[in-house]
Symmetry: C2
Subunit: 281 residues, 2 copies
Amino acid sequence: MAPLIVAVQGELGSNSELAALEYFDGRTIDILPCYTFADLFAAVDQGHAQAAMAPVENSLAGSIHDVWNLLLDHHPRVAGEIRLRVVHCLIGLPGATLADVRRVRSHPQALAQCDEYLTALSGVTVEAAYDTAGAVQIIKSENQPQEAAIASAQAAADHGMQILARELSAADNFTRFLVLGEGVTSVGSLKSTVILEMEHTAAALPAVLGRLAARGIEVLKVETCKRIGRPWAYNVYLEFVGGTDGPAGQALAEIGEFVTRRQIVGTYATGVAAEPRLHRR
Amino acid sequence: MAPLIVAVQGELGSNSELAALEYFDGRTIDILPCYTFADLFAAVDQGHAQAAMAPVENSLAGSIHDVWNLLLDHHPRVAGEIRLRVVHCLIGLPGATLADVRRVRSHPQALAQCDEYLTALSGVTVEAAYDTAGAVQIIKSENQPQEAAIASAQAAADHGMQILARELSAADNFTRFLVLGEGVTSVGSLKSTVILEMEHTAAALPAVLGRLAARGIEVLKVETCKRIGRPWAYNVYLEFVGGTDGPAGQALAEIGEFVTRRQIVGTYATGVAAEPRLHRR
């Protein structure tokens, strides 16, 4: 069988790639690295990739609104999900020590999550890079022992670099990915993701949640997000157990007066939490 | 009677000052301009001001989370509220014309709200300033006809500057202020503001809204806000009709299992919507 082409944002060794390797474990895949989230969605739209990993939320940072907006605009097929634990490592040149480090580069999100650790390192400056694994490539090419990156253990192994410290953020650091396009067949229970657009959450949100509760539908996520520039308008990210037909469909049909737009992102098998493993290339 | 000292963020002519003038209409007040929101709360804490205008949300930009966080940390007395319509004007030197303008300065929020207007002005760059009215002071002191600011008509009048264009943003542009410290006696109906801290909004938020609905309490605002760096933790901004005793108090007492912290910001008279007027100095 030909390898499945899976688009990820970032380079090899990024958390998105690790999530793809865990989700498609046992299946031969080829990774298509994408520079931006928009590139990732375009890769699926245009058929350059059969699947893509879309990070929708992180336990420490919250929902990744850029990705939700792309879900609204592109409405790709959602095939599954996976939660990957994020283990941030401080990575330097072979032979470098922690005492050598004067500058740390990584994705701004990773830098923010390791803020407490970085603050405790005295005399060290931080600098943003477009990707965690990409930062490892940069410090490798610069070849200076005072330069370090924050990325996965996989990124260190891929580039023959050295791990100077592990577990730099809170341990309960998970990123949840929706798998776009083609997924794996799963026997897990179903869940659904919906985006509701409403003006004034005050009346609409209690009504929506009340209708779901009245039908015994268990809500898995509910979050509001301001639509900047649109008077009083909010998006609500809503996830619940089961599909969007049957009782949930009835509930969603009843709330028309409260919502200005209702987009069903998808119904898919509930994913598992995975620990990142080291993969041989 | 001695004038009431009212702290506002920004300079004279800022929307915060205009809100103070409308809210305390008929009473003699002295304005205490503050550089940051933290300074504003400190001014009330330390007794340098008897009242302060705290902008909690804008119809286009959403909740001003910095102010909500200060409400959590300082728990000042909330005496009232007012909604002020925000009318952004493009302001230049006397004698300058729209065709002269090459650079526009204002608070980033104001620039964002006027983005559509600014994009249509070709060959113009934008630059952030700490305050709308402060930007007018700056362009006045620089005395260059190609420099303009976005601020209120009041700021233009105060500095003897010229209004080149009015109503630059959506017309439905309102900022809502809570009045901290001393307010005006009002016969309006009461409302309450509460901040709930919860882990996983999925079970907690439907439960909280369900308890309020079961007691017939009308919700006026509900919004989630991620607590960055705290796994899965969110704050919920909740406002409802009435006080926090009686049925609402019972509902809030019942939700203890769902929330990790419950802070009553205050109960106060529901405010009115005001149009900014031009004041003689």
